[in-house]
């Protein structure tokens, strides 16, 4: 096996497409400076959620791509292009891709099934079929931005985006690849939203995509890239829980490991995966309390503003780099809490027990 290294990992590009932010790190910074909640609307029979305005994607994806690509793939490609463009990196030189998604493309899956149910075998679409596999966003994004090294799609409840960044950071830190585009993407399908309601997930749901370009610090600096932030340490573990369930254990191994890899520093503030899913949020609070000890550490989540989706964890990573540089932690009511210009923690704890911790610092 390749000898493991421990290289410094930096962020050189950001791309976001959701109901509140569309663009690169500058667009994200402008929104974080005065964060406002995106409006919620009803999705089918499900509870109101944060949907992307219908005008957004046509402004990012040309008409031919729009006809050819599923909507969730368009979300991913739109955000990925912002991140690649900002990084100014020639992806063909050797870039990996890691995408987290909770739900994949169930819109196409349902349409594919409906074709058969309406017309039998003659109603099946060969074009829709590849979209029924959850790696369709990675497949189309890799083609769109020419990433040719490892390509992973990671599926885990709640924390797919956080885990995608942590997994990508591990690939860069180990020396196996110099750069990885890491992101998260989900869309809201009306039927799936209803099913999530039935499962008892009462969080604010949203849709969109967010990407960060992660690079080995030495190679990024050598090419004169603008450094937007630093993944100082990351780790993922799992806590015991029933499938899709909320557990009781409050172990904090992931947080401790991320801190250790960051040189033993303690976070001064936290972006948590809190989404309004009450039992899960309460569990995360207990886990964070155990991890951070008696200190009161300012904690926020952008979930209430943009809705929970796999892009949220990645948005938190990009936003954490902004907070570390600006000393401001945005709150769910559009205000800010002043925080030390110091590394903070991006924390994810999912239904089922997926546990991710990333220590994020400014450039």
């Amino acid at each position: 096996m390749t000898q493991s290294q421990h290289r410094e990992v930096v962020i050189t590009g950001v791309g976001v497409v959701n109901a509140a932010v569309v663009g690169d790190s500058a667009a994200l910074a402008a929104w974080l400076d005065a964060p406002t909640a995106a409006p919620r609307s009803r999705v089918g029979q499900a509870r109101p959620a944060v949907r992307l305005p219908e005008t957004t994607l046509p402004s990012l994806i040309d008409a031919a791509e729009g006809r050819r690509l599923a909507r969730v793939c368009q979300l991913a490609i739109g955000a990925a292009r912002f991140a690649v463009g900002e990084a100014g990196l020639d992806a063909a030189s050797g870039v990996g891709l890691v995408i987290g998604s909770e739900l994949g493309d169930y819109t196409s899956t349902i349409a594919f099934a409906d074709g058969y149910l309406a017309r039998g075998p003659a109603g099946l679409s060969a074009l829709l079929f590849p979209n029924t596999v959850m790696n369709t966003m990675a497949a189309t994004t890799a083609i769109a931005v020419a990433t040719r090294e490892l390509s992973l799609t990671i599926n885990v409840p709640t924390v797919s985006g956080e885990l995608a960044v942590a997994r990508a950071a591990a690939a860069v830190a180990s020396g196996r690849v110099d750069a990885v585009l890491a992101g998260g993407v989900d869309e809201l399908d009306p039927l799936v939203a209803e099913m999530l309601d039935a499962l008892g997930d009462d969080g604010v749901r949203g849709e969109g995509a967010a990407f960060v370009m992660l690079e080995a610090a030495a190679t990024a600096r050598a090419r004169g890239a603008r450094i937007l932030g630093r993944i100082a340490g990351s780790a993922w573990r799992a806590l015991p829980a029933r499938p899709w369930g909320v557990g009781r254990r409050v172990a904090s191994v992931a947080v401790a490991e991320a801190q250790a890899r960051a040189g033993g520093i303690a976070p001064e503030w936290v972006y948590a995966s809190a989404s309004g899913d009450a039992p899960r949020d309460a569990w995360e609070s207990r886990v964070l309390s155990a991890a951070l000890g008696p200190r009161r550490v300012p904690t926020t989540s952008l979930g209430a503003l943009v809705g929970h989706h796999a892009g949220l964890g990645v948005l938190h990573v990009a936003s954490a780099a902004w907070s570390a540089g600006s000393g401001r932690l945005p709150t769910a009511d559009g205000a800010h809490v002043p925080v030390p210009r110091h590394a903070g923690l991006v924390h994810g704890l999912g239904r089922g027990g997926g546990h991710v911790a990333l220590m994020v610092d400014a450039a």
Partner: protein, 392 residues
């Protein structure tokens, strides 16, 4: 340098439950592709698949795929002799595509017909690919890092690579890795829609091949850091000596015509293992049986190993294309080939394609001891992986 050994194997295949049944079927060159029974194939050109007839034990309330996974994972953990404490620290990575789609389809089909519906909450909970890992971790007490990878038909092999990296990087000392998929309507209908299914059992590398056959199953392996495995006296089947993942970035379903990404994966896997092409004696091919895949894979193999440079076979000729399970089932076939000093054959290969310049081990297994063997897996989206195994 932390080396990674394979210390446990578990399989549920169309030959039945267990590694023993799997190897007996492969070594005999038996084709397990038969008429479909799980789903209604009326109106389709292809009506066959390699189904698991003898299901592993498990509650019928679980999805078929979850039961396949539980059977294979339990066997692998028991085979490795991992106790409760070992399991509590073990990583788990599952390669998955269909999840519990078979049961979700039943719910959706019933909904479309206006029939009484089973619980939709249960359908969604089991439908996501991540469901298998959650069930395995909960049932088997696996408490280390856990995730699910979806890289289409290469998912099972990618799961092995993910765990190998976690061990090599010192994150964990032991891990359970594998892939699982049950036959689903979506998969069967989709490959029919793409006109990629042979109405008869598939014949990889044959001049007259007409496409692939669908299969189902699960395979898991226990991977373990070498010093730890030796210290506890574990039996080692093989070393996972290297792997590499590449992406074609070419087409959503078609491989790059020259096999450039496939060849890059093979070359990088050999480099990771510190060996050259002449050190490898056998390639368990992705070998789907489609005209395009087999020709392009052979082209890529020739670029790396030279025409005829090693033995090549496709075990899909016996168990069909088991989707997310394929990469892990074929890894186990490759490992057993090293251990048993026997190369599993390509069943149904009667007229070798003259464009494929390799000995593809037609119909009869070949006794041969090789030091290194590779397993290739390629997925939709040009997601390529080669895993290299070394005899121990």
């Amino acid at each position: 340098m932390r080396r990674v050994l394979v210390t446990g194997l578990g399989v549920v295949s169309p030959f039945g439950a267990g590694v023993k049944a799997y190897w007996a079927g492969l070594a005999a060159g038996t084709c397990a592709i038969r008429p479909l029974t799980i789903i209604d194939a009326t109106g389709f050109r292809c009506r066959i698949a390699a189904e698991v007839v003898e299901m592993a034990a498990g509650s019928p309330r679980r999805s078929r795929a979850d039961r396949l996974a539980l059977g294979a994972a339990t066997e692998a953990l028991d085979d490795a002799g991992l106790g409760r404490a070992d399991r509590a620290a073990a990583a788990l990575v599952v390669g998955a595509v269909g999840g519990g789609m078979l049961e979700a389809e039943s719910w959706y089909w019933a909904r479309a017909r206006g029939e009484q519906l089973p619980s939709w909450a249960a359908s969604l909970r089991a439908m996501l690919p991540a469901a298998h890992a959650e069930v395995l971790a909960h049932r088997l007490g696996l408490g280390g890092p856990r995730h699910t990878v979806v890289t289409a038909c290469s998912s099972g092999a990618v799961a092995l690579a993910e765990c190998a990296e976690l061990i090599a990087d010192g994150v964990v000392d032991v891990a359970l890795a594998g892939g699982v998929d049950a036959v689903t309507r979506m998969c069967f209908m989709g490959f029919n829609a793409l006109k990629l299914l042979d109405p008869d059992p598939c014949r990889p590398f044959d001049r007259d091949r007409r496409g692939m056959s669908i299969g189902e199953g699960a395979a898991f392996v226990v991977l373990e850091e070498a010093e730890r495995a030796r210290a506890r006296g574990a039996r080692a089947y093989a070393e996972l000596a290297g792997h590499a993942m590449t992406t074609d970035a070419y087409h959503v379903t078609a491989p790059q015509p020259e096999g450039e990404g496939m060849a890059r994966a093979m070359t990088a896997a050999l480099a990771a293992g510190g060996i050259g092409p002449r050190d490898v004696g056998y390639a368990n091919a992705h070998g789907t049986g489609t005209a395009q895949n087999d020709r392009i894979e052979a082209r890529a193999l020739a670029r790396v190993f030279g025409a005829g440079g090693l033995l090549v076979s496709s075990t899909k000729s016996m168990i069909g294309h088991t989707m997310a399970a394929a990469g892990s089932l074929e890894a186990v076939a490759t490992i057993l080939g090293l251990v048993q000093e026997t190369i599993p054959p390509t069943a149904g290969l009667t007229t070798p394609d003259p464009e494929i310049e390799f000995d593809c081990v037609p119909r009869v297994a070949r006794e041969l001891a090789v030091e290194h063997a590779i397993s290739n897996s390629f997925g939709f989206g040009g997601q390529n992986i080669t895993v290299l195994f070394r005899r121990v």
